[in-house]
Amino acid sequence: MRDIAVRVENLGKRYTIGGPQAQYQTMRETATQMALAPLRRLRQLGRPGPVEEAFWALKDVSFEVKQGDVVGIIGRNGAGKTTLLKILSRITNPTEGYAETRGRVGSLLEVGTGFHPELTGRENIYLNGAILGMKRGEIDRKFDEIVAFSEIEKFLDTPVKRYSSGMYVRLAFAVAAHLEPEILLVDEVLAVGDAAFQKKCLGKMGDVAIEGRTVLFVSHNMTAVQALCNRSVWLEGGRVHCDGNSTDLIRRYLSGAKPVGVHQPSGEYDLTERRNDYLADKLIAQSLRILDKEGMPKNTFLMGEEMHLVVDVQGMSDYREALIGVIFKSIDGQWITSINSGMTCSHVDEPRQKEEQAILRIPTIPLTPGFYWIDVSVAQQGIGRLDYIEHAASFTVAEADVYGSGYRTTRYFGLVYLMGDWEIRNKVRR
């Protein structure tokens, strides 16, 4: 049995929004508040107390990490991932709960923390190393390795303010990658540098895992999480939503079941792993496939291309009047348009079977280049939604010369484009 390296119990962190703690304050404001406080209290006698705008960035979070485990922390923006790392690395204080780390902790919330632009690469290696918690002797020993990893040998004695951003990041990551703590807390630092360098960093991180160190790895890069972590903790709204096998968790995280962006390059979306919170007591929509006119599933379409959507449904025999619909939304969730089977459907096979397939043919996609969501809806008029999947699928539209004029139509012209033709005439008759 391996020892526990990180233990977290009911950890919580509260921020006060608009309150005295969260905001930058001037002394005058504080003084005024203090002076007016008795008056305010007097006025509020007999009234319910003011609602303090508190926001729990993290709440009731508990988990344990065994020594040598590499655990991914996933979740959407604002789910509390960084706050968790900040508490574990002692940058900020929790509001409640308890946490314990056993072993030397190194945290990487950003690469190049404390780099000074006026100092040379060589000097910054020492400064940054010390800030990350390395001993001087340790930096001396690893110096050549760090320089080799960063590929900036020639510029070692140049102030880093003259570096290109790529060189800067490479040097910064090189120092960070040579940190050898027993527990490593990493936050999204791989999202830097070019692809080749990222690959190299991932390789280095993999080595860390092999060396038996404990790693908590926050990332939006699911490929990296899947490659590095055997287990993941999924945070949502500051709480632990799921904790378990990474492959499993990531599949669920990425699947359309949750209102989370899933971009399946194949264009095929499984909709079975979810709960139906609507009127039907079972899952009606089973899958959604996005196909081109040849019937091949795909995910990137040209403007004006033909698109077919196929929704597999089950149990529609119980809801003979129900309509199947899809809603197109922009990347920020704005409802663009929707189309349901009640608007158009002329072909319903009778008698209806338990398993059915609803096919929507769109002869030309009227959308400008960009990323789009599709919601799937099964609803019965006068009753309501039977089954609904927000952000069930997504696809992208690429630029095409739809007007045949060579003009580049981009997102700046709007979400949809109109087919039409301008003609400019002289008003004066000849």
Binding site: Y15, Q21, A22, Y24, Q25, T26, M27, R28, T30, K86, I87, L88, S89, R90, I91, T92, N93, P94, T95, E96, G97, Y98, A99, E100, T101, R102, G103, R104, V105, S107, L109, E110, T113, G114, H116, E118, L119, E123, Y126, L127, A130, I131, L132, G133, K135, R136, E138, E182
Partner: protein, 290 residues
């Protein structure tokens, strides 16, 4: 934040001891212990931060480290012309230029250290929000580089002593004590100001005024003997009064510092210890308010 560290007894001198340490993290409110051991563990960071400030200080300047001499030297000339020549401020029988310069040296060490450490947390907030280390390292490392400037400017003082035929006395041996007192006073004030400044940026704007007014409350341009007897005790509450008078005495050996030196030392201790505790108390909110 309350952090306790239990090192394993066996490997005290080994860097590996930190490897076997357990860190407990839980919310804490109110006053916390100073935990200077944690600071000691991070002494190399303290060294590197100080070294960074020294390295960067005169980058991209033409005169470089000569600024450490030019500033007090020209101030001394201006003071000598206005206060020494025109106003004829008494100087305890010491030639006014060296009287002023020997007061300016500890004063500039103090005022620059206060300014730098008072702004240190604000200017290092990118570190505070991204990585853990004992936050005390920041204001402390902002105070120390001033000693280098002091050392450079001190050479000029020695030249002036030769010029004015002033031989050092045994009192010179007490100089390190007064130097330490000046640094301690600056750190004490700097700790308060830096923690306040992070939360209320107004503090940053008041620091220049503060040091300016403080200069007039300190016997730099005039001897403390000008202060009436009954106000001497109150005057001593200004820790720099004791430091500057002590400095002059240690170097020039004329008038020994008045009885208010003891009060000054007490004031420094209060400032420093109070500042340390206040800083530690506020420390847990630093990352949230920065």
């Amino acid at each position: 934040m309350k952090v306790t560290t239990h090192d394993e007894e066996t490997a005290m001198a080994d860097p590996a001891i930190e490897a076997a340490s357990t860190i407990v993290i839980r919310p804490s409110r109110g006053w916390v212990s100073l935990d200077l051991r944690d600071l000691w563990r991070y002494r190399e960071l303290l060294y590197f931060l100080t070294w960074r400030d020294i390295k960067v200080r005169y980058k991209q300047t033409i005169f470089g480290a000569a600024w450490a001499i030019l500033q007090p030297f020209f101030t001394m000339i201006v003071f000598s012309v206005f206060f020494g020549r025109l106003v004829r401020v008494p100087s305890d029988g010491i030639p006014y230029p060296i009287f002023a310069y020997s007061g300016l040296l500890p004063w500039q060490l103090f005022s620059q250290a206060v300014t730098r450490s008072g702004n240190s947390l604000v200017s290092n907030r990118h570190l505070i929000t991204k990585i853990y280390f004992p936050r005390l390292a920041i204001p402390i490392s902002a105070v120390l580089p001033g000693l280098v400037d002091f050392g450079i400017a001190f050479v000029v003082l020695l030249v002036m002593m030769v010029y004015y035929h002033i031989a050092p006395t045994v009192a010179l041996l007490t100089l390190p004590f007064f130097l330490l007192l000046a640094v301690a006073a600056a750190l004490g004030v700097g700790l308060w100001l830096s923690a306040l400044n992070l939360k209320y940026r107004d503090v940053g704007y008041t620091i220049p005024f503060l040091t300016q007014f403080w200069l007039f409350a300190t016997p730099v341009l005039y001897p403390s003997s000008l202060i009436p007897e009954k106000w001497q005790a109150l005057y001593g509450l200004n820790p720099m009064a004791g430091v500057v008078e002590g400095f002059r005495w240690a170097l020039l050996g004329k008038a020994p510092p008045g009885p208010f030196l003891a009060i000054s030392v007490g004031a420094v201790m209060l400032l420093l210890i109070g500042g340390l505790y206040y800083f530690r108390r506020m420390e847990k909110t630093f990352a949230d308010v920065a």
